[in-house]
């Protein structure tokens, strides 16, 4: 009797990959190509492109708003990427320690952090807007008042507004880094910690010499993922400050959104979208390099 049917691990992959490839082509590849075309055209949202031009690009480069937007974006992203990972790592390691010691409440705490993660971005912005309410009866200001401190201009002061936006983003975003670091920490061989304990290494020394070096790949990959996520964030800022006061919290993604859908400047918005895309892809290439090396 001969074996019928396909042999294991054999078979052509393409029939299986067709749905995914079609979706990627229709919803990613072709649109991105179209963005590229629109970026070098004179199209607006209500008028099709008529000729090739770099007018949109040069208009954008001459736009005095752009340096401010880029500065805000870099500041917002950099502070978030550092703070998200410091918090995420801190929480992940504390949870692992608590679980190893059999402490109660670890799952409850993890659930709480994850709950903030699934709050819709718009709701996140609205919720923090209420917390940052600057009226005397506003949440944080009235709490500060009870403690004897003066009111803080959470959202009306340009510098403070950016800090507030970072706080709101930290509240929501920390869970992602927590999961990544939690998973990576669980993947470390426990024997290493036993050896460190036998050698009488202090917790700090163990962290420096065992945990941190072995989490390096996770930190590298997570840095990239979190950077891209933060860069793409705009709905929570839209709901929290609308980008204001002035342009104090207008990040690149929000600027793109406003350019296309409020100013109806399709060509200019496409140039901005292209910038977002190039940064994201550069980051993806970095991840690929790290993953390739780790394997």
């Amino acid at each position: 009797m001969t074996a019928r049917g396909p042999a294991p691990a054999d078979g052509r992959p393409w029939p299986w990959l067709v749905p995914a490839v079609l979706v990627l082509a229709a919803f990613y590849a072709v649109p991105v190509a179209d963005v590229l075309r629109l970026a070098f055209s004179d199209a607006t949202l209500v008028r099709p492109p008529e000729r090739w031009t770099t007018a949109a690009l040069s208009a954008l480069l001459a736009d005095p708003a752009l340096p401010a937007v880029l500065r805000t974006t870099i500041l917002f992203t950099a502070v978030n990427v550092i703070a998200l990972q410091v918090f995420g790592l801190l929480i992940a390691l504390t949870l692992v320690r608590g679980e190893a010691r059999g402490l109660r409440g670890m799952t409850a705490f993890r659930t709480l952090v994850l709950a903030a993660w699934v709050v819709p971005g718009i709701a996140n912005g609205l919720i923090w807007q209420m917390l940052f309410d600057e009226a005397p009866y506003g949440t944080l200001n009235s709490l500060l008042g009870l403690a004897g401190f003066g009111p803080v201009a959470w959202l009306s002061d340009p510098e403070m507004a950016l800090v507030s936006a970072v706080i709101a983003n930290l509240w929501q975003g920390t869970a992602f880094s927590m999961i990544v670091f939690y998973a990576a920490r669980k993947g470390i061989d426990p024997v290493l910690y036993e050896v460190a304990a036998l050698d009488g290494a202090s917790p700090w020394r163990t962290f420096r010499s065992v945990t941190l070096p072995l989490l390096r790949t996770a930190v590298a990959v997570n840095t990239v993922l979190v950077t891209v996520q933060t860069l793409n964030t705009f709905d929570s800022i839209l709901a929290l400050t609308g980008g204001g006061p002035g342009r104090a919290t207008e990040v690149l993604a929000l600027f793109t959104f406003n350019t296309v859908f409020y100013n109806l400047d399709l060509a200019g918005g496409s140039v901005l979208a292209l910038m977002l895309f190039v940064v994201a892809m550069a980051m993806a290439v970095l991840v690929h390099g790290w993953l390739g090396r780790a394997r």
């Binding site: 054999d10 801190l90 659930t111 709950a115 819709p120 709701a123 209420m130 892809m281």
Partner: protein
């Protein structure tokens, strides 16, 4: 002794963080239970003197609000299901078949996940407008399916990898075609992975704002995420309690589903993160 001190430090640290993470939820609840007069009392009264469910009743008595919730549920559930359905064949091929450039293709699919919806929405909006596909829930669902697919491929591949090949090989030797093996054996065994991928995609869709905001122009088609943004634009400070109630209503379904299933979802994510 040292371990005990460490435990205390652990609890102290987590307590501090718990205050930060819990405050927005606690405060929204407090505001949503207040009468208009009590809003002005600020932090002096965390638990209102006269807690009231009026705000929830008022928000939910608006029939439009129920429609928004239903729209949100419909769009995110069908979008999540579509994402998983699109991902199954590809994930199966990545898990079971050997082919050239497999690793590179898999990383490319994940890289796609990094493209902001904003980037692809610019051209898609124009095409859909020209083809008359705006204001159509199927357009939004299709887009949700496309956006959710890459992560679903990754999660399902990991789930399929966890199922021993021997089980499938027995069926193949018995003469079953590969697609029969997939539908009859692999998929039923991968139920937790499928469920995790679906719930994650669905929760992401529930949070989506940009796509429905741009593609759906009619009030009656909006999901809850767009509706509360619009609602917030229409309220003055005297209705803070209503906005708080509306936000809670938008947030609670996603949080409840996620909290109930978090053990399953977190283990799926962790498996994915380790493999990745």
């Amino acid at each position: 002794m040292r371990a005990r001190l460490g435990d205390m430090a652990t609890y102290a640290g987590l307590a501090l963080l718990a205050v930060f993470f819990a405050t927005p939820f606690v405060w929204m609840t407090s505001l949503a239970l207040r009468t208009p007069a009590e809003i002005y009392r600020g932090a002096a009264r965390l638990i209102p003197d006269a807690p009231t469910l009026d705000n929830f009743a008022r928000v939910l008595s608006d029939p439009a609000f129920l429609v928004y919730l239903w729209n949100g549920l419909k769009l995110s559930a069908f979008g999540g299901a579509l994402a998983v359905a699109l991902a199954i064949p590809a994930a199966y091929a990545f898990s079971r078949l050997d082919f050239r450039h497999k690793q590179a293709t898999l990383v490319a699919i994940l890289a796609v996940q990094m493209v902001s919806p904003l980037v692809i929405l610019v051209p898609l909006y124009r095409w859909m407008e020209r083809l008359g596909l705006l204001n159509w829930d199927l357009s939004v669902i299709a887009l949700y399916g496309a956006l959710g697919m890459p992560l679903a491929v990754w999660l399902l591949k990991v789930a399929f990898d966890a199922i021993p090949r021997e089980i499938e090989e027995a069926a193949i030797v018995d003469g079953a075609a590969r697609w029969q093996v997939l539908t009859r054996i692999t998929l039923p065994l991968a139920r937790p992975g499928l469920a995790s991928a679906f719930v994650l995609a669905m929760v992401t869709n529930w949070s989506q704002f940009l796509i429905p905001f741009i593609l759906l122009e009619r009030d009656a088609d909006w999901p809850i995420s767009v509706a509360i943004f619009n609602f917030a634009g229409s309220v003055s400070a005297s209705t803070t309690q209503l906005l708080a109630a509306a936000c809670l209503i938008a947030v609670v379904p996603a949080v409840a589903v996620f909290a109930a299933l978090q053990r399953m979802i977190v283990s799926a994510l962790i498996a994915g993160a380790i493999k990745g």
